[in-house]
């Protein structure tokens, strides 16, 4: 493999590049979901995860299904669901905050038998 081929591989952006991008976003989202101590940051991490999925959908729509664009339709659906999720997340966060005036995830450990 010579330099030319490598350059061609790098600069010829294809489906694989987008998949790797969404993969990176997904892994960052998971990491943020687990290591954050702030509830709001956890919510943001969930949004990153959804964005990663969106990127994936739209990339597949572009490269395999340009005539029907089903992936983009699903991306729209996901956005709507994400909006609902964010609204509910805020409501739940407020309800939690009312019971225990903290946004620290370490404080919420009642989920056990």
């Amino acid at each position: 493999m010579n330099w030319e081929e490598i350059l061609i591989k790098i600069f010829n952006v294809e489906l694989t590049h987008y998949i790797v991008l969404s993969l990176i976003l997904f892994c960052i989202g998971i990491m943020g979901l687990i290591i954050s101590r702030n509830v709001i940051r956890v919510l943001m991490s969930i949004e990153i995860l959804l964005s990663a999925v969106n990127v994936n959908f739209v990339a597949f729509a572009n490269y395999t299904d340009l005539s029907d664009l089903k992936g983009q339709v699903f991306a729209i659906f996901i956005m709507a669901v994400a909006a609902a999720e964010a609204a509910l997340g805020l409501a739940i966060l407020l309800a939690l905050y009312r019971n225990k005036p903290s946004v620290d995830t370490e404080e919420y450990k009642e989920l056990k038998g």
């Binding site: 976003l25 687990i34 702030n38 395999t64």
Partner: protein
């Protein structure tokens, strides 16, 4: 290799770089407000990615819904929960953090390996994920009309049932949010007032 492709790829790398940096910033920024700012940047760059992928309608929706709507919700959350313990609530110094970093890294490597192998393998035969060259007609149509018409038709014909269910879901979410957040609002005040009364 044409010049157009090189410019496209440069744009892609620039936007992807910003997106990844912003996503990392969401997770690792020390203050939650910085995270929110990072989130706006991340969403905007995601919209840029969508533009690169010929998805103009999705890109506009991304800007409207994510970069504005959800960001406002997050900012509200930050404001309503009094970010006074902001500094110390950064990253959990726990065993699970190590596990999380290791697991996500491992997942990344594995999927990277399988993706690069699989995509090449799959694209070599005419399979499900075979990268098709779009017909000239479609390119023409998209260049003239954009994607909005196609998406709109799909939403109101093939996907009309999920679309209606989605509207119901949004309604339920709004009602649920109101009920959950609004229930027993006096309790929000009581703890502070009671502690204020007790102190003297």
């Amino acid at each position: 290799m044409e010049m157009q492709d090189i410019i496209y790829s440069l744009f892609f790398y620039a936007i992807a770089f910003v997106l990844i940096i912003a996503a990392l910033g969401i997770v690792f920024m020390p203050r939650i407000v910085y995270s929110a700012v990072c989130m706006i940047i991340a969403f905007l760059s995601a919209a840029g990615i969508f533009v690169l992928l010929n998805a103009d309608f999705v890109a506009v929706s991304q800007v409207i819904i994510y970069a504005v709507g959800i960001t406002i919700i997050m900012v509200f959350a930050i404001m309503l929960t009094a970010a006074r313990e902001d500094k110390k609530l950064w990253i959990a110094v726990k065993f699970r953090s190590l596990v999380a970093i290791a697991a996500s890294g491992l997942l990344f490597l594995i999927i990277l390996a399988s993706v690069t192998k699989c995509i090449t393998a799959l694209s070599s035969r005419a399979g499900l994920f075979a990268v098709q060259e779009p017909s000239q007609e479609t390119i023409q149509r998209l260049a003239v009309e954009g994607t909005t018409l196609t998406i709109g038709k799909a939403l109101l014909t093939d996907y009309v049932l999920p679309f209606e269910i989605l509207s119901l879901l949004l309604l339920a979410a709004i009602l649920g949010a109101v009920v959950i957040a609004g229930k027993g609002q006096e309790k929000l005040i009581n703890p502070t007032t009671s502690t204020a009364e007790e102190e003297p």
